[in-house]
Symmetry: C2
Subunit: 338 residues, 2 copies
């Protein structure tokens, strides 16, 4: 409001440089047909006045914002915030900015609200990081001119979906434990609403079944270490439990603590595998064997996907899976000899 001077515009620069504002525009956008001497003159004037292009005017004119919206529920999940980081980094490399749209409470109302606001938002495309269950239940149609990429979903028939290969990761984890000689593997699953949790649980079940092993009833957590601890207390009391696959590293941490408190040694008596490969996993007691997720790659492919859609102007339904890799550390070993 009370700023000393209005913002410098192209007209101001043009006046000082003694050219037309269109020439300033050409210099600003790097158009080739401006001769060197003129360009220098304009650049000098820009510098002297401290000219900055007005992105609102530019967006208005061009119809492009060079901005990607990212909708997400929570940062607290390791995956979300690491994916967001990768998205932001890659978008920046492509000259795109990121606009964050947090949806604090994942109720249908707030999702609708977020998408409504989205329609007014200055974005060329949107990346949605959330369980698509909510996307479905929300009776919202995305504004037709906005392209969408979804993470963590199975809606590959309708949207472009990028996700970690959850199933293969879980399979690797279970196979690793079976190969070590365990009769079967117990599972601490994530919350029901989560697709990732569902996938991991399903692959765990399938792998056991395919190997002809008994499938114990899964325990259910909510991704938190505390919920893993509760599950771990239950498992610690079962002498027949020698191998546990937790659906994420945090819950594995809780399982480790429960086993430790109940005096069951890891990996001597019980083996534990996690999922995510968070940085801290190397410093758990003992260092955790876990499934590594390449969040950076997920983010990269999200940006790539959305930019492709923005350029081509049309959606490209389909699912891209980013491979996972088992990282073996010290929390797994053959089962104890009876």
């Amino acid at each position: 409001m009370g700023r000393p001077k209005a913002r410098v515009s192209m007209a101001d620069v043009a006046r000082l440089a003694g050219v037309s504002s269109q020439t300033v525009s050409r210099v600003s956008t790097g158009h080739p047909s401006v001769v060197g001497s003129t360009r220098q003159q304009v650049l000098a004037a820009m510098k002297e006045l401290g000219y900055r292009p007005n992105s609102a005017a530019r967006a208005l004119k061009s119809g492009q914002f060079r901005t990607i919206g990212v909708i997400l529920f929570t940062f607290s999940s390791t995956g979300n915030s690491r994916t967001l980081e990768a998205i932001a980094t890659h978008a920046a490399q492509e000259g795109y900015a990121i606009t964050l749209i947090p949806v604090a409470v994942p109720t249908q109302d707030s999702v609708v609200g977020a998408f409504t606001r989205l329609g007014e938002l200055a974005v060329d495309g949107v990346i949605v990081i959330m369980e698509v269950h909510l996307l479905d239940s929300a009776t919202v149609t995305l504004p037709p001119h906005v392209q969408v990429v979804v993470v963590d979903s199975d809606a590959g028939d309708r949207y472009t979906v990028v996700d970690t290969d959850q199933a293969d990761g879980a399979r690797q984890a279970v196979t690793h434990l079976l190969d070590l000689g365990h009769c079967t593997v117990w599972h601490v699953a994530g919350p029901e609403e989560s697709f990732a949790a569902e996938r991991r649980a399903q692959a765990w079940r399938d792998t056991l079944t395919a190997a002809g092993r008994e499938v114990p009833a899964p325990l259910r957590g909510d991704w938190s270490a505390e919920s893993g601890y509760q599950a771990g207390l239950v498992l610690a009391d079962r002498p027949d439990c020698t191998a546990v696959f937790a659906a994420n590293d945090q819950m594995a941490l809780g399982v480790l603590r429960a086993l430790h408190e109940r005096g069951r040694s890891v990996p001597g008596e019980v083996s534990v595998v996690g999922f995510d490969d968070i940085a801290d996993a190397t410093s758990f007691i003992p260092p955790l064997t876990t499934v590594h997720q390449d969040f950076a790659e997920v983010g990269r492919r999200c940006v790539q996907g959305i930019l492709h859609q923005i350029d081509s102007g049309e959606a490209a339904p389909g699912t891209t899976l980013v491979p996972t890799r088992l990282v073996v550390r010290a929390s797994t070993a053959p089962p104890p000899r009876p």
Copy 2:
């Protein structure tokens, strides 16, 4: 490009509703002097055409973007991403969007680059989450019309700074250990470039000195659990070390692992205190006594501060400290009887 139809504008709505576009504008902005029946007509037309205000045009006209830029180096620090989450949430409540500007490599060049891009960005204000050392060394002046709030800095004389009360948190941690009867407290510090680390180390030193205790040489980590583990290995070999204050929870985790591996029981032989109170700290072995930081409050005050500056049009230098609180769990106890 090849979209079936151009975007719906106010003129289209006006045509359908049989009013002028200015009336549509008035309805859109909630201007009072539109009679009920007209308003209904316009709203119906908006709905039928799927009208969405064009924020670029709106920003161009009003000179405001209703957007806050957030510059940050890394999400991997717990504090950064939790603060970001709180900022995003509160900004959304105020009807502001968040634009993320990641600076992957904290070199001077990339900082300059980020701030240059910033000048062109459609933001009304900026929140900087980073060590201000780099802000200083970067020979950048922020565009004069952009307001700034800084987190984690001591530049309160030049900028509005919001930070956790690092010093008091560290004091509480050290005092707690001394009160338990420990002769002195060892410190695993964060990296030198970090103001937060510097503050915590200084307060640790001051508190020991004020109590007339010996001040051991601090060990230095880089916030990671692995670096805490390395420091822990050193401390585990010193029989005179009975109490450790780690500058964050991750490093505390590493210390716990090192002590465990070397057979020194926690808290029986050695007490450990962390800083941050991350969610997982309750499931460390043993559950970690740590200093709780209220990131949500930090985020809230950042948004509040920047909005105030945007409204008033002038900077408001000064520092706001958010209190911390010691959370006592199971990793601290009186020292062993010799």
